[in-house]
Amino acid sequence: MSQQLRKVCCLLVLYISASTVFAEHEVVLVTSTKSCLKNLSSLDIRKAFFGVPITRCGQRVRAVHSNYDTLLKKIFLQNVVSMSEDTYQRRLLHFALQAGRRLPDRVSNLNELEEILGKNANTIAVIWKKDAQDRSDKIRVVKVLWKHD
């Protein structure tokens, strides 16, 4: 019995540590816990990050760039906007000049992000899952965008 209990405990510890490790290697789309956003299609997420004014739950969805981690930024560019950083920045400037679209806000740390998400309910951002889990009282995961295989 005690052996079985030890096995279960070991498996439980392994499971918890494994999920923590994998959570570190997952990139998620987050919003505020106050937001009613349920799910957004890949196209809607792209639209938001290119400044197209989309409305969900009766409110405009606003995108915020998380600039606090280089690897996260690379994954965002590859998997969300599918462009190099230079091309993406030029397209944003083009849309701002052409149609008056607003450039997405940028945050350089998680506290800033938490503050912005708290102020505007329909604001979305791309961060590591682990960082979202650490702030689960204020930040809610909308969608997993990337997983390390």
Binding site: F50, T87, R90, R91, L97, A99, G100, R102, E115
Partner: protein, 396 residues
């Protein structure tokens, strides 16, 4: 600076102000004006650029955006022929773009100031018709001029220093009208697969041909501006990407108000100008190709005779190659056909019949670029060779 003699008369003061504002004379005064005007904007807290572009306090419906495109350009003639007034001068230029949206309403303006000019290039009010479709009213850039629609006055965005001659603005002796004051429908259709189409059409008051094409100015409208129409239809394999192919067309009735000595010779009253063309902007890995070809037909209406026509064709092809991160080499070739004998082009102050250029651009953080360009152009009867250098950047 001359101060208005009867400054208590508000109307006169307003006229004096606008004359100063929109004057085309070369002077540093334009730049000083702009600094006076932008300083309060920069210090205005809700559009401050000091907080890394974070405007968290804006309401959900009200959003605004302020951009500054700055550049310093020097053009050194390498042969004795110099046909422009600003060669071998360091010319600073500032392009301010401000926009706001509230609910379905949009406002967008672009103001350009340099030591050679100072004016509102665009001032438009818009109504959102869908997620990515708008109806604009005001002074706009014509959608049928692809280069202008892509880069507007933001020189940082274009890789080369010079624009193709068919994309030049009216006050830079461009042969096609680039501004129109009226209505524009700008609509985007996203097919869900990632691809999409853009459609834009505009109509409004176009330009009068004097010593150059003079578009309708909001501050000094002038007389004789007739209607123009244009449209553009583009296919985008990635709706948000830069790759695009499309067709453009325009039609203008251009009133002619030439200086009397030329007017006596030509007897021209007006010109009906129609244009049709194609364009492509395509990126293949590190290589980008940007090209356009247009056919222009001018029908002249003279005092005694009517209906004389002439045709000209213009094309350019620009290739850009990113051979190392942040380093880009580029080259462009511009050609014209039946341009040398064109009556219409002979009425413009400058003609660039053919041009070849090569250059190198280096991008460095944050959003700065240094560009070197060597170009050789055939004007009416002479060749001109220039070495240009430019530092351009954008804030925030």
């Amino acid at each position: 600076m001359i101060v208005p003699h009867r400054s208590w008369e508000l109307w006169s003061l307003r006229q004096w102000f606008w004359r100063q504002w929109s004057s085309r004379q070369s002077s540093w005064r334009h730049f000083a004006w702009l600094i006076y005007l932008t300083f309060p904007l920069l210090t205005f807290p809700s559009i401050s650029i000091a907080k890394d572009n974070t405007n968290a306090n804006e309401s959900d419906d009200f959003q605004q955006q302020l951009l500054f495109f700055l550049d310093l350009t020097n053009r050194t003639p390498l042969n004795s022929v110099s046909t422009t007034d600003y060669n071998d001068q360091l010319i600073p230029a500032l392009d301010i773009s401000y926009s706001f949206s509230y609910d379905r309403f949009r406002f967008l303006t672009e103001y350009v100031a340099s030591t050679t000019e100072s004016e509102f290039e665009r001032l438009q009010l818009g109504l959102a018709l869908g997620e990515d479709s708008r109806l604009w009213f005001g002074r706009i850039h014509r959608p049928s001029r692809y280069w202008n629609s892509e880069y507007h006055h933001g020189r940082y965005l274009q890789t080369s220093i010079s624009r193709p001659w068919i994309g030049e603005f009216e006050d830079e002796s461009g042969p096609l009208i680039t501004h129109i004051t009226g209505l524009m429908l700008d609509a985007g259709f996203n097919w869900g697969s990632g691809a999409g189409m853009r459609f834009a059409a505009s109509t409004g008051l176009s330009a009068v041909l004097e010593d150059e094409l003079i578009p309708y100015e909001l501050t000094d409208s002038g007389d004789g501006h007739k209607l123009g129409f244009d449209l553009r239809l583009g296919y985008l394999p990635d709706y948000f990407g830069q790759n695009e192919v499309g067709i453009v067309a325009s039609y203008d009735e251009i009133n002619v108000d030439l200086p009397s000595e030329i007017s006596l010779v030509t007897n021209l009253n007006s010109i009906d100008q129609s244009m049709i063309g194609v364009y492509a902007n395509w990126q293949f890995e590190q290589l980008t190709i940007l090209t356009s070809a247009v056919h222009v037909k001018n029908q002249f209406h003279q005092t005694a005779v009517s209906g004389t026509t002439e045709n000209s064709r213009f094309a350019y092809l620009q290739a850009e190659y990113e051979f190392a991160p942040s380093w880009r080499g580029f080259g462009r070739i511009e050609r014209s056909w039946d341009a040398q004998d064109s009556l219409y082009l002979s009425l413009l102050p400058q003609v660039v019949a053919n041009r070849e250029l090569v250059g190198l651009r280096y991008d460095f953080p944050k959003q700065h670029a240094l560009t070197l360009e060597f170009n050789r152009q055939k004007r009416r009867e002479s060749h001109e060779t220039q070495l240009c250098i430019q530092w351009s950047f954008v804030l925030p």
